[in-house]
Amino acid sequence: MKPAVLTGEHYMTGDEAIAEGALAAGCLFFGAYPITPATEIAERMSQRLFGVGGTFIQMEDEIAAMAAVVGASCAGVKSMTATSGPGFSLMMENLGLAIVMETPCVVANVQRAGPSTGLPTQGAQADMMQARWGSHGHYEIIALAPESAQEAFYETIRAFNLAEKYRTPVLIMTDELVGHMSERVVIPKKSAITLEDRPRPKGRKDRYLPFEPGPNGVPPMAAAGEGCAVHMTGLTHDAKGYPVMTVECQEQMVTRLVNKILDNRHDIFSFKEYRLEDADVAVVSYGISARTARAAVDEARQEGIKAGMLKLDTVWPFCEEKIFELAQRVKAFVTVEINLGQIHLEVMRAARGKAPCVLVGHAGGALISPEQVKAALRSI
């Protein structure tokens, strides 16, 4: 039987790397529903999970898959699902449940072009705003966007770690292009991988309050069967987990959930600065488009254009301060993403008028070419 951590050099797709990252992170439950281009994650998990003592189940739809993932996490097990556009839409209600019940879990969205059934086998990055606020109500979410199979492996581990640390769902917003591309993936030794576990209750079980925040705003979590008689509800609730239908309790609960993410944003953020030190133009990108953007930056530099890139590993929460800081020293921003302007609008918002913002994007179904980015860079 293969171990959870497949230490060594491999050639695998981004989808398979997400599955391997999950196994390396200690994922023991996968609730599945097949959909192109995410199916390979489920298939790999169905082959691997039982061998490491976990459980894989293909549910009857994505609503059920997401509900089962939240349930499994409430039993104390690291759990995940993977989907694409139409399935992501179906998962939204129970994603909200996981946010309000503060249930750690990971959802990978291997984005394809939408709306609706769209271009099922062709990539896009147009679910970024749905990731932000696709479930109803006001909340903060964590979303990561790997650009390669290697990053998909590491970012999936980071997704589980953040989910556990902050008792929250974490989204892996990858895309068909990363998901279906085969590349070299190096998996380190198990001992070189640091894992986080959700904070656990200490002290008397009868005094445990499932929603009493700890020092970083995150309450310790007892699993079902631990003897704490936990109550959890999607209704607005107090520290006991009991429903309280007041404006005050709503204010308290929602602001704590939001601040749990925002106050810890510097721990959640990850971004890479590439040739930005002396840059006149900052290209902002994430996921597969970051590879286009990097190539364009290098080629533009050869033409004498001082371009640099801010590559977002963490897309949500959004690194507003970083953008604003750059806005004071660059002449313009160019956001590269496969949609018609989603993170671009965030960059505009965060730049607060200090630098003009340009979008290089299209409606989805294919890569953006470095030529398109260079054309934008030349025109600035």
Partner: protein, 288 residues
């Protein structure tokens, strides 16, 4: 067993209800209307949990949304009040992640059979190790009495003002066709039978389903000229107890009769047993 625990409880403290140790007493008063049957079905469920001798520390209750769905909120167990229709898949994840848990789903007919109908049939098909208890009050109580997948033909609800043009599901028949391995129907008027049936359902390995007919005087009764007591009288006068009845003959009809009973019990590998045998390497190694 019930009498013993009742006596013990009364002996200990006069003011204590025999189910206090299973109730979140700090959440009482509950939200249910006077004359509503959910409380009776819920008390029967807690009594059955007690009588079954299940380890309470390893027993969890999951509800969806609705008046009946408030059940989980009052049970002093690990209890989860989830989203509308999704109690069964949530419970499926909970159980698969920790098979030592006894997982009980307590919810309404709208929750389990309209919005959640697909999950019900699939959990039954899998013979998923769950006990599903459905309080059937023939309508959507919580939202003010709209038509449900269980509302009788021609009955009046707020969204069928001239009568229901559609026909209802027969829940135990649906459970049977879907693969449930313990199936029963009782009413809140059949206290002892109901508790015994629920106890058997809780101890059953695999997917067990108990439908409990229960009045909603505020929304259903009022619009269908049934005073609270009349619904109970109907349960008493029209019910025919037929254990092991042919699932095709278990009518729920004011004229043909309300057939009640423990209809069906089958022993076949539960979902978890099947997964263990089929997918777990230690089992595969043993058998090869």
């Amino acid at each position: 067993m019930t009498t013993k625990s009742n006596a013990q409880a009364i002996g200990e403290k006069q003011a204590q209800h025999p189910l206090d140790d299973l109730l979140r007493t700090d959440r009482i008063p509950h939200i249910w209307c006077p004359g509503c049957g959910i409380g009776t079905a819920f008390a029967a469920t807690l009594t059955a949990i007690k009588d079954s001798g299940l380890d309470l520390g390893h027993t969890a209750m999951v509800s969806g949304i609705g008046c009946s769905g408030r059940g989980a909120g009052y049970a002093k167990l690990d209890s989860y009040h989830t989203t509308h229709g999704r109690a069964i898949p949530f419970a499926t994840g909970l159980k698969l992640a920790n098979p030592k848990l006894n997982v009980v789903v307590f919810s309404g007919d709208g929750d389990l059979f309209a919005i959640g109908g697909n999950h019900f049939i699939h959990a039954a098909r899998r013979n998923m190790d769950l006990t599903v208890i459905c309080v059937n009050n023939l309508n959507y109580g919580m939202t003010g009495g709209q038509v449900a997948a269980t509302t009788p033909h021609l009955a009046k609800t707020t969204t069928t003002p001239v009568g229901n043009p559609e026909s209802p599901f027969n829940l135990p028949l649906l459970a049977y066709a879907s693969g449930a391995t313990f199936i029963a129907r009782w009413t809140i008027m059949h206290g002892r039978d109901m508790v015994e049936s629920l106890t058997e359902a809780l101890l059953h390995r695999g997917f067990s389903f108990v439908e409990i007919l229960s009045p909603c005087p505020i929304n259903y009764g009022r619009r269908n000229k049934e005073k609270p007591l009349e619904t109970l009288k109907l349960y008493e006068e029209k019910s025919i107890i037929k254990n092991n009845a042919n699932p095709l003959e278990i009518t729920l009809d004011a004229e043909k009769g309300i057939v009640l009973g423990n209809f069906y019990k089958e022993s076949r590998p539960s979902c978890i047993e099947s997964y263990d045998r089929t997918c777990r390497p230690d089992f595969l190694e043993q058998s090869s």
